[in-house]
């Protein structure tokens, strides 16, 4: 339902977005990740028709955003960065305005407004000016505005930014509930959010897509994928470390010594190797006093940092590593 081809945005000599291709279908929740300034918001602004692309095209449910802007925008619910709303209005009058502009009148308008209010739990603040609301409520007003017309395409720029953990949970549940009927793009800085709600994650860096896959696919690219950690007394750690290192499938072992006399050893496997069975067999055979033993699914943070750390930063990291 969302088709993006070769989308590019040039600000003077600087390419904020440099040739992005995306297809998002019904039932997909696409998590849009990337460092600050990577081009996430610019891409969303072009998809929703706020900015014109320098080249490339965007189609929303078959409507081109440049030539059939209004038809395309009817299909989109959009929560812009920072959830802007008219501060002098109350949430109720603001939602009335949005309903009217989206062409709802009478009973249909009331039903849509009430549903949006219920889904975002705005009841307690309906009659207060938006500018006096807390950040969390403001964000929810923006969400209510975006989902009011039950759009087939939903684009949200950091929908959970500024919310407390309970509110984050509620918003994620709302997104999951809506997901089967919609094509959704969500940008976020929170990697756990991607694992919680997204069926697919796209990482962009300096205007380009550098990773695209389901969260579990991306996790296989993490160096922690299938890594095995064990917690044991520090006096046994040296020996254990040496034995782990000598295993065939182990690339390296990291040790963290804790103040309570225990050490955490993490063994990283060769690409694609499964360690947990061999390691647990070893533990049994050696009779180590192991307190915890587990395999990791991987960490999105590893993948994120591996694909987005700029060359300059990477060079600096290597230089300081060599100097130490």
């Amino acid at each position: 339902m969302i088709e993006v081809e070769g989308l590019t945005k040039q600000f003077g000599p600087f390419a904020a977005v440099a040739g992005i291709d995306l297809r998002v279908g019904r039932g997909e929740v696409l998590g849009f990740l990337g460092p600050n300034g990577a081009g996430k918001s610019t891409t969303m602004k072009m998809i929703t028709g706020y900015l014109s692309a320098t080249c490339g095209r965007v189609r929303i449910c078959g409507h081109d955003i440049e030539t059939q802007t209004i038809a395309a925008q009817r299909q989109i619910g959009y929560l812009p960065e920072g959830a802007p709303a008219y501060g002098d209005m109350t949430p109720r009058s603001f939602l009335n305005f949005i309903a009217e502009i989206r062409g709802f009148v009478g009973a249909a308008a009331r039903t849509h407004i009430e549903r949006a209010i219920a889904n975002t739990e705005l009841d307690p603040v309906l009659e207060q000016p938006i500018e006096t609301l807390s950040k969390g409520f403001k964000r929810r007003v923006g969400l209510a505005q975006a989902i009011l017309h039950d759009p087939p395409v939903l684009i949200m720029d950091e929908p959970t930014d500024g919310l407390d953990p309970n509110q984050k949970h509620a918003v994620r549940r709302l997104i999951r509930d809506m997901a089967p009927q919609k094509a959704i793009i969500v940008s976020t800085h929170l990697l756990e959010e991607v694992e919680a709600i997204c069926t697919r994650a796209v990482i962009i860096d300096r205007g380009r897509i550098v990773a695209d896959g389901t969260p579990s696919e991306l996790l296989t690219r993490s160096r922690h994928h299938n890594a095995v950690s064990l917690l044991l007394p520090t006096d046994q750690a040296e020996l254990a470390r040496a034995r782990l290192k000598s295993m065939n499938d182990v690339i390296s072992v990291e040790q963290t010594t804790r103040p309570d006399g225990l050490s955490m050893l993490t063994a990283f496997p060769r690409q694609g190797a499964l360690l947990i069975e061999d390691v647990s067999a070893l533990v049994m055979a050696e009779h180590w006093d192991v307190r915890e033993l587990y395999a990791e699914p991987g960490r999105l943070e590893d993948v994120f940092r591996a694909v987005t750390t700029h060359d300059a930063a990477r060079a600096r990291a290597q230089a300081s590593g060599a100097g130490a």
């Binding site: 038809a71 002098d88 209005m89």
Partner: protein, 244 residues
């Protein structure tokens, strides 16, 4: 169904949701009164008409109308609501015209609230109410002209102070372009047709003609086309910002 009406309504109501409307109206009425009675010597003239009242309108509008216009787009840009507005299924022209008409209607209300002076002059004598009506029509058209200029300039910046100052300067040029001060200067450097063209842009000339009671179609067309021109510029400026 274009969305113009909801935008007009929202914008118009917004004036009265903040102190802006009341402050503006009070200052407008107070200044109108002060100019008419103290500087224009309304009573001492001993003439039952409102010519002194209308004579000061261009100069009052020069400062008060840019104050209304400066927030039209600059405020949307600063608060980020422009992103919301332009991603709603509403054509850009409907947003531009809707917001403009709301501001114009608001200045119209401020103007209507000067009606006590009309009552006063009718109580004191027998003025030609047709001339007075023409004066009000001309004044309203002229306010629309200043407002269209200010709205277009507001669309070019997110800074309200810049929008205000630039609007006042541009409006000032339009106001006095028929005055000797400007024309003598232009005459020295440009051929006659340009001098005539520039003098024909003068708000003072066109408003002066209407407020004598003669609603000449040419004066009306001048203001209407000027408003249309600056609204078109406004639309183009909003579109340009999408591309940059």
């Amino acid at each position: 169904m274009s969305g113009l009406w909801p935008i007009f309504k929202r914008e118009f109501v917004a004036y009265f949701a903040t102190p802006l409307a009341y402050v503006f109206i009070v200052i407008f009425l107070f200044a109108m009164g002060a100019f008419t009675f103290y500087i224009g010597n309304f009573y001492q003239n001993g003439v039952a008409d409102l010519s002194v009242f209308f004579a000061y309108h261009p100069w009052l509008y020069l400062f008060l109308v840019p104050a209304i216009a400066m927030r039209l787009w600059a405020e949307e840009r600063r608060s980020g609501t422009i992103e919301l507005l332009l991603t709603l299924p509403v054509p850009v022209w409907a947003s531009v015209v809707g917001k403009y008409l709301a501001a114009w209607a608001f200045t119209g209300i401020a103007l209507l609230l000067t009606f006590p002076i009309w009552l006063t002059v009718n109580y004191l004598g027998n003025p030609d109410n047709g001339v007075i009506l023409a004066g009000y029509v001309g004044s309203f058209l002229m306010a629309g002209g200043y407002l269209a200029i200010g709205a277009a300039i507001s669309a070019a910046t997110s800074n309200q102070v810049i929008a205000f100052v630039v609007s006042v300067v541009v409006c000032f040029l339009f106001t006095i372009s028929g005055a000797p001060l400007v024309l003598n200067f232009v005459r020295a450097i440009a051929p006659m047709p340009i001098v005539t063209a520039i003098s024909s842009f003068s708000f003072l000339t066109h408003f002066g003609a209407i407020s004598t009671g003669v609603i000449d179609l040419r004066d009306v067309i001048f203001f209407v086309t000027l408003i249309a021109l600056f609204l078109a510029i406004n639309i183009v400026l909003i579109d340009l910002k999408k591309a940059s």
